[in-house]
């Protein structure tokens, strides 16, 4: 059938609707911003939703202090250009204990900096609605996640307390102490994200494009040595042409060998590739259904 809107236009309209609906119904919304490609798309959609006003809520980066340097640089620039306030939260306990992925492992590192840090930040600022860039195609258990995900006291996710979502109707009402995580790009796939970034000319961290970078083999992943905190011991980094499919903490984000130096080439590789996006993430390999467990604990 021919149609008056393309699939990207429909996805865009749905996301804008969700952003506006949340703003209208929540008391104090915030947009979680991780500087990755999904965050970049979500931020772009927010600019469109509220234009000519700047998005009427702050950006919050729950920082682990181990992101790539290039990500920190883009973070400041993106917030400034959007005309939004940027809040950065670093878990003071994790900071005091010097938590890092090398000595404490990915599970402890992620839990303290990200999961606990996020809860602390939301409580600290009193946000009752937080936009997140999660997508349903990322992982099996996410297919059943609502667009509006309810968290009770202590940010716990209870599968039984989730509300049915009909039509374009979202029920955002909640009692004090409860909060909502809102996922405006739930229905986008990785390919949609890349196509949209290409179509709209959205700025992303250049780590997504292939370039010669120093990498080492670390826990089975190809890890880029981004600063001198990496415990090199006897290994010498090799310079390879690599790019990243997902970006998080640099010691936990596996690179893939690639020669794709333009967005269309990245999309081309993606369409011809044979491994899924989350495979480059250390935290998913811990155990089956691990995202499910993390979600119940309050991880995004």
């Amino acid at each position: 059938m021919t149609t008056h809107l393309t699939h990207l236009q429909r996805l865009e309209a749905e996301s804008i609707h969700i952003l506006r609906e949340t703003l209208a119904e929540a008391e104090r919304p915030v947009m979680l911003y991780s500087i990755g490609k999904d965050s970049a798309v979500m931020l772009h959609l927010a600019k469109k939703a509220f234009y000519p006003a700047p998005p009427p809520f702050p950006l919050l980066h729950v920082d682990t202090t181990f992101k790539f340097k290039a990500m920190y640089a883009l973070r400041e620039k993106a917030a400034r250009e959007a005309g939004m306030e940027l809040l950065v939260w670093q878990n003071p306990e994790a900071k005091a204990a010097g938590i890092n992925p090398f000595d404490h492992g990915s599970a402890v590192h992620t839990d303290l900096w990200k999961t606990q840090g996020l809860k602390q930040a939301l409580d600290h600022y009193g946000f009752d609605a937080a936009f997140g860039g999660a997508r349903r195609d990322e992982e099996k258990s996410r297919a059943k996640e609502r667009v509006f995900s309810f968290r009770g006291a202590g940010h716990r996710w209870d599968p039984k307390a989730q509300r049915p979502e009909l039509w374009r109707l979202y029920n955002a009402r909640h009692a004090r102490g409860e909060s909502i995580r809102v996922f405006p790009i739930s229905n986008w796939t990785e390919l949609d994200i890349w196509q949209y970034i290409h179509q709209e000319g959205i700025e992303i961290v250049d780590l997504y494009l292939a370039a010669p970078r120093p990498v080492v083999d670390y826990n089975g992943l190809m890890i880029m040595v981004d600063d001198d905190r990496f415990p090199l011991k006897d290994v010498t980094p090799t310079v390879k042409s690599v790019r990243f499919r997902t970006l998080g903490c640099y010691p936990l984000s596996g690179a893939v060998e690639s020669t794709a130096t333009t967005l269309p080439q990245v999309i081309q590789e993606m369409l011809l590739t044979t491994t899924s996006e989350r495979q480059g993430r250390a935290i998913d390999h811990d155990q089956a259904a691990s995202m499910e467990k993390k979600k119940q604990e309050g991880y995004f």
């Binding site: 429909r10 049915p164 374009r168 796939t189 499910e292």
Partner: protein, 632 residues
């Protein structure tokens, strides 16, 4: 079967050209209906697999899982691809709506995977509410079952116009055409009965991949399209909405500075262009569209499904919840409706209780009458019902506290579909579809009077108020209420005492003590109290009024600050020990049913204006305290 969707050669040859071609892709939402036994998860897993949405690492995990917990022996169990939550995987059933994505070169699909279990009407209605098309899946060995009828009825109820019957497991009946034809004939007869026209039917095998992406060599007698090709030809519902009159429910008013006032929302139907004459509902004011504003520059026109920001030529009142419509064909405005309700909560519908109704961007309080009838989704019989339980569907009349801008659901999902929200828990308890406005709501208008409520109170030299005493039977409500009135009377205040027992001898003598009757009892008392405050009186009431929701309902009827909730707080043991009327003894002996505190709950106020601890003060001290708080 081989992979039906090998990568397009264009991807490798000329990615730019490929991306260009992808720009025209459509988006279609589909719901699959059927039970685990019909092979639904297998079909969806097959669609993902054949459209190359499964990667090698997922495939190796799948192969390992298939051998460990699969039901297909050494073969790949596609169903494991789509079973999500950990607990469900162990139980071997899917228990909620899951959304999956896959794409062909022409269309991106969002599939709502809904469980076919007996008790999950709620999930199917949820998944179907956004669907453009429905796949009704049946097992070729079993034919049309009760659940097939149920799924089809629900698809029809929710307004899905494109339904395809997928007769699965054809491999297990040897691709027998006669058996297929018989099943289709039986189904079509039923479909016609419920008003589903133009049902397509396709013989498939999810396991083997027959007639999924390509015509199967096993069914040379079948000349129709394979399932995916059929889906690619379905018209998107939003495109059908383009031909209807323009409507934009306002979500948010955009006021970045004094010079700009934009109205943001998603166009639910029709098209709009600058210069179009529009009407704002419910006010009825008219103006015209000035601009369609976007980040990428102003647009010359926009249509159904687009999220836009409009500016208007004149400074007219317009806020969230209003609907901007084409001027000469506006939607209706009313406050009484007939509707179909699908109940989605464990706690049943309480007729008379006030809920919140959210329709598009409008949220109002609403009360629901007892159902006219309930529908048995298996037999389609109409049954008498006093309430609606989880997964029940019924036809009801409802009254909203403020007028709603609406259209019948058959015309507009956006302006005819609504949800009900519990006011205490905030849970979504029901989904509903408006049929039509009741004539009487268009004929009864509020009569404006010249001597207003403030004038009534001023003449009495007082401020009207409701002193609402709530508490267990025997807590001391009537005693304290009586003392309060005596004190106020001595102070020349004009008062009236409404007492539970007295009202039940007259106004409410037709009511008993079921939850529904208790709610109606309080509603009537609330309305009487409201009339009395309009007359300028200080009203004192003494009712157990056990439910928070009804006390909230009465609070909402009154002007802000007029409702003073007073919790006469006496522990159950204390009230039972006093047992002035001997009622607790009777209740304990089983001679009195639905007695508050014994076999019917009392929901204590969470933050009453005044709390009286009767174990710490006398009735007279309590009355003095209340009067002091009122008069100051």
């Amino acid at each position: 079967m081989t992979n039906g969707f090998a990568p397009d050669p264009l991807i490798a040859e000329n990615i730019e050209a490929y991306l260009e071609a992808q720009q025209t892709k459509n988006l279609l939402r589909v719901i699959t209906c059927g039970s685990v036994d019909d092979g639904k998860s297998t079909l969806i897993g097959r669609l993902l697999y054949d459209s190359k949405q499964i990667f090698d690492d997922q495939l190796s995990a799948l192969e390992a899982d298939s051998k460990r917990v699969g039901t297909q022996g050494q073969n790949i169990d596609f169903a494991l691809l789509v079973d999500g939550l950990a607990a469900e995987r162990e139980q071997g059933i899917t228990i909620d709506v899951a959304y999956r994505f896959f794409a062909t070169d022409r269309t991106k699909f969002i599939i709502a995977d809904c469980p076919g279990h007996e008790q999950y009407t709620r999930n199917m209605v949820t998944g179907a509410s956004t669907a453009d098309a429905a796949i009704v899946l049946i097992d070729a060995r079993k034919g049309v079952l009760t659940q097939t009828r149920r799924h089809s009825y629900l698809a029809k109820l929710i307004g899905i116009h494109h339904v395809v019957l997928a007769v699965n497991k054809m491999d297990l009946i040897g691709f027998d055409q006669a058996k297929f034809d018989a099943i289709v004939a039986e189904y079509r007869a039923f479909a016609a009965e419920i008003g589903l026209a133009d049902v397509a039917a396709i013989p498939i095998s999810g396991l083997g991949g027959d007639n999924i992406t390509e015509p199967s060599p096993n069914t040379p007698w079948y000349t129709g399209l394979p399932l995916l090709r059929w889906l690619e030809n379905v018209e998107v519902a939003a495109d059908a909405d383009l031909a209807r009159p323009f409507r934009l429910p306002v979500q948010w008013v955009n006021r970045p500075n004094l010079d700009f006032r934009g109205f943001a929302g998603t166009i639910s139907s029709g098209r709009v262009a600058p210069g179009d004459a529009v009407r704002i509902l419910p006010s009825g004011r008219t103006t015209s569209v000035a601009r369609i504003v976007t980040l990428d520059g102003d647009k010359a026109s926009a249509g159904a499904g687009e999220a836009v920001t409009l500016t208007l030529a004149d400074e007219v009142d317009c806020s969230r919840g209003d609907v901007i419509s084409i001027a000469d064909a506006p939607p209706q405005v009313a406050d009484q409706f007939e509707a179909t309700l699908v109940w989605m909560a464990d706690e049943p519908l309480l007729p008379g209780r006030s809920y919140l109704l959210k329709l598009s961007t409008q949220t109002v309080t609403v009360t629901v009458q007892p159902p006219k009838y309930q529908i048995n989704v298996n037999t389609l019989e109409q049954l008498a019902a006093k309430s609606l339980d989880l997964n029940a569907i019924g036809v009801v009349e409802l009254t909203t506290a403020a007028p709603l801008v609406f259209e019948p659901y058959a015309d507009s999902r956006e302006l005819g579909g609504f949800i009900l929200i519990d006011r205490i828990s905030n849970a979504t308890v029901a989904a509903g579809m408006l049929h039509f406005a009741l004539r009487r709501s268009q004929n009864i208008h509020l009569q404006a009077t010249d001597v207003g409520r403030d004038a009534h109170a001023a003449l009495k030299n007082q401020k009207a108020a409701v002193l609402w005493l709530t508490g267990l039977s025997g807590a001391g409500k009537s005693t304290i209420a009586n003392l309060v009135e005596k004190r106020l009377h001595r102070m020349n205040r004009h008062t009236f005492l409404l007492d539970g027992d007295n009202v039940r001898h007259g106004l409410n003598k037709d009511l008993g003590f079921t939850d529904a009757d208790r709610i109606e009892n309080i509603r009537r008392v609330g309305e009487v109290a409201k009339l009395m405050t309009d007359a300028g009186l200080i009203v004192i009431t003494a009712f157990i009024s056990p439910f928070r929701a009804e006390r909230q309902m009465v609070r909402d009827m009154m002007a802000p600050g007029e409702f003073i909730e007073i919790h006469i707080d006496t522990p159950l043991a204390e009230a039972e020990a006093r047992d002035v009327k001997g009622l607790y003894k009777k209740a304990r002996a089983g001679q009195l049913r639905n007695f508050t505190g014994i076999d019917s709950p009392y929901e204590a106020p969470e933050s009453p204006e005044i709390r009286i601890d009767t174990t710490a003060m006398t009735a007279d001290e309590a009355a003095a305290l209340i009067v002091e708080r009122l008069i100051g």
